[in-house]
């Protein structure tokens, strides 16, 4: 595992090269075939849980009790979906998740890009401090601060019947404020935006300044359009984080009308208890939107994820 053992590169006699090329190509072909077979097997195993989810979601529940259970369901039972939708308001859950995820995406694109731009392109006294702070924030897991954040939301002054001192009522608990505001700016997105902006040419800014374009105009009209793919990446990553968020919505929402899809699935599990065909239908509903979004915008997701490393 050390770098010391780099392969030695030696020259070969020209006469031998052609024959070698030939055998190399053949070897390459067989090794490609082997690799392909391995990848097919591996990716089928990786995808098997999803297939199982999909199969279970259209299975007739009576098949589950059969011995042995047929692996492939005999017929396609889409009624499972309508039944699941009838048992729990998945449409409301999905709408709530959509609002939450869209808000997270929009707010991050606006505020994180502004900050990222300032850090990358504008010289101001606090810039190094702000940048250091953001990097430090990336390291701080939400789970370590969730209780104080919960208490702050609960004691938000003058909301939900609270006094100026933040007592007496419920603050932002069970409101959209609580769902959206604490996650409106992610320090990681600021960092990501800074990296995107750094790679844009500073000469454009200078030129625009000479042309008398305002600083704000340079940010919004000249430079930001250059990182359009970056905007999409951040929007998608924020959307994904919002859609898949669980603990925070679990803690701050109580009413069914504010419940998001992941919390909805977890609570549906308790209602439907052992009706796995319905549970898998519900789980499919929660998982598929993200999968589809990923398939469409794969490129942008990949860019962001490769830089993040953190789910």
């Amino acid at each position: 595992m050390t770098t010391d053992h780099a392969p030695s590169i030696s020259g070969t006699a020209p006469s031998a090269t052609r024959a070698r090329d030939h055998s190399l190509r053949r070897r390459k072909r067989t090794s490609n075939a082997l690799v392909l077979a391995f990848l097919i097997a591996a990716s089928v195993i990786m995808a098997a849980p999803f297939l199982w989810m999909a199969i279970s979601s259209i299975r007739d529940p009576t098949e589950l009790a059969q011995v042995p259970m047929p692996l492939i369901p005999k017929d396609l039972r889409l009624e499972n979906y309508s039944e699941a939708l009838g048992r729990a308001p998945f449409a409301t859950y999905a709408r709530n998740s959509l609002i939450l995820a869209t808000a997270a995406a929009a707010l991050n694109v606006v505020f994180a890009s502004a900050c990222g731009y300032a850090l990358a392109k504008l010289r101001f006294r606090l810039a190094p401090a702000v940048f250091g702070w953001m990097v430090a924030c990336i390291m701080i897991p939400f789970y370590a601060t969730v209780i104080p954040v919960f208490l702050m939301v609960r004691h938000m002054p003058l909301f939900g019947g609270n006094t100026l001192m933040g007592v007496g009522g419920t603050g932002w608990i069970d409101t959209w404020w609580a769902l959206i505001v604490p996650g409106a700016v992610s320090p990681f997105m600021v960092f990501l935006f800074r990296q995107f902006y750094v790679s844009t040419p500073s000469e454009l800014i200078e030129a625009a300044r000479l042309d008398g374009v305002s600083e704000f105009g340079i940010y919004t009209r000249i430079i930001t359009p250059l990182i359009r793919p970056g905007l999409l990446t951040v929007a998608l990553l924020s959307f994904e984080a919002g859609w898949n968020n669980f603990l925070w919505p679990l803690l701050v929402t109580t009413s069914d009308s504010l419940r998001v899809i992941q919390v909805g699935i977890a609570s549906f599990r308790q209602e439907a208890s052992t009706d796995w065909h319905l549970l898998m239908a519900g789980t499919t509903l929660a998982a598929v939107p993200m999968i589809v979004l990923f398939l469409i915008f794969q490129r942008y997701f990949v860019q962001g994820f490769a830089a993040s490393g953190i789910k």
């Binding site: 938000m156 002054p157 003058l158 419920t170 603050g171 404020w177 803690l251 109580t254 009413s255 208890s273």
Partner: protein, 434 residues
């Protein structure tokens, strides 16, 4: 642009003070000392209430919606929205509700839950003359009181005892019910073999490891807490005997820790993979749908858990209790709904669905109740239903940790001595914080 920025900045907390006007008032002062007004006329009820319940899961939910809530809504015009949580998640659901200040108006909990939440001021007091006028048995009412006042009403009892397959016992020549825990252990050992485990005590089809321990604790003459609930008792000699009894049975193979009741599948006892088993009255509806042959007369025998100390046998009493949140902003409707839940025909419908026993002195005569043989046995032996959980305001904290402690002992990861010391430490700590 700068306007929206300022608005959002404000929303981000810095300027929340300035946004006071946008606040939507939903905070209620909690004052548990004001007793409920239980006698508001139906016509004066309005609005909507929330119900938090761990019961009526799966197919039973339709019974709750259509047969229990719908008539109430029709009569009073009050909408009831249901929030269902598993028994395992009920405590944290209530707790996060308390932490956030928003909680369902009507809350259904279990035996032992009333005192902790009454102590925290979460449950509203229920007028004593109303409850005492209902004529419930004192053994049931104990679990509804804290500090001499009432904070909950029993809606259903879940009685637990031992069930057995008569033909399996006959085959081994066992023709009478065990008179002591030693005899039970011996019988279980004799019944073990040929793919059959003697006694299914821990598979979860009738309660958790924690409840199995508490049941035995009482059979050995112990209790969980002192009478005033301020000192633990479960770590004393009966607790040691209870743990040791289970460990000994596991040594002979009579109890198998690794058999588990799979969700939605017949339990080991239903599949006749266990000769004897802890059963609860709530198992009946499951038996009816999955293994109806067990519901025929004589198909399954029952006896109470014999004593380990030459005393009377015992029955475990779990149950579902209704309380009203002191945070409720519609206490009248909540009280109206609580009364509705206790009407004989509603209790009968609930009982038919859940298999649990109505707590009232005059049991409604419905087909579901008449045909439930487990319930009949439980009711016959109600005076023996002395094994209950709780009895201390510190119980909720103990409850959430006791399962792990008992399981740790049963899986050989802690000795009996360590386990008892852990129990004592857990209880002492929890009691010191009330």
């Amino acid at each position: 642009m700068s306007l929206t920025r300022r608005t959002l900045l404000a929303a981000s907390g810095a300027g929340a003070v300035a946004l006071g006007g946008a606040a939507c008032g939903s905070g209620g002062a909690m004052d548990p000392s004001v007793p409920l007004d239980i006698d508001v006329a139906d016509a004066d009820l309005s609005g909507a209430i929330g119900l938090l319940t761990p019961d009526f899961v799966g197919d039973d939910r339709a019974v709750l919606d259509d047969d229990i809530i719908a008539p109430f809504t029709k009569r009073t015009g009050v909408d009831v929205s249901v929030d269902q949580v598993d028994w395992n998640k009920l405590n944290e659901k209530i707790s996060t509700g308390i932490a956030g200040g928003i909680i369902a108006d009507v809350i259904m909990t279990g035996v032992g839950w009333t005192q902790p939440f009454a102590e925290k001021g979460i449950f509203a007091e229920i007028p004593a003359d109303f409850i005492e006028g209902l004529g419930y048995d004192e053994s049931v009412l104990v679990s509804t009181r804290y500090d001499g006042r009432y904070y909950s009403l029993p809606q259903a009892l879940d009685l637990r005892f031992i069930g057995f397959h008569p033909e399996l016992l006959e085959k081994k020549g066992i023709d009478s019910a065990p008179e002591s825990l030693d005899e039970l252990a011996q019988a279980a050992a004799e019944l073990t073999g040929d793919g059959v485990v003697g006694l299914d005590f821990l598979s979860g089809s009738a309660g958790s490891a924690r409840q199995a321990f508490v049941f035995l604790l009482y059979a050995f003459g112990g209790t969980m807490f002192s009478d005033d609930g301020l000192a633990p008792r479960l770590h004393e000699e009966p607790g040691r005997l209870a743990l040791q009894w289970m460990l000994d049975c596991m040594d002979t193979g009579a109890i198998d820790y690794s058999i588990q009741a799979a969700e939605g599948q017949p339990s080991p006892f239903q599949q006749k993979k266990a000769a004897m088993s802890l059963v609860s009255t709530g198992n009946w509806p499951t038996w009816q749908t999955m293994t109806p042959e067990l519901c025929e007369k004589g198909a399954v025998g029952t006896f109470l858990l014999p004593s380990g100390v030459d005393a009377d046998p015992v029955m475990f009493q779990g149950g579902t209790f209704i309380s009203i949140s002191s945070l409720s902003k519609n206490k009248d409707a909540a009280a109206g709904f609580m009364k509705h839940m206790l009407e004989p025909d509603i209790l009968g419908k609930a009982s038919a669905a859940t298999g649990k026993v109505p707590p009232t002195p005059d049991i409604p005569e419905t087909e579901g109740i008449r045909s439930n043989l487990l319930m009949a046995f439980g009711l016959e032996n109600l005076p023996y239903a002395g094994a209950t959980e709780g009895g201390s305001a510190a119980y909720m904290e103990v409850r959430s940790n006791l399962d792990g402690i008992v399981e740790t002992c049963l899986t050989g990861r802690a000795t009996v001595d360590q386990t008892l010391a852990d129990m004592k430490k857990l209880c002492d700590g929890a009691i010191s914080r009330i």
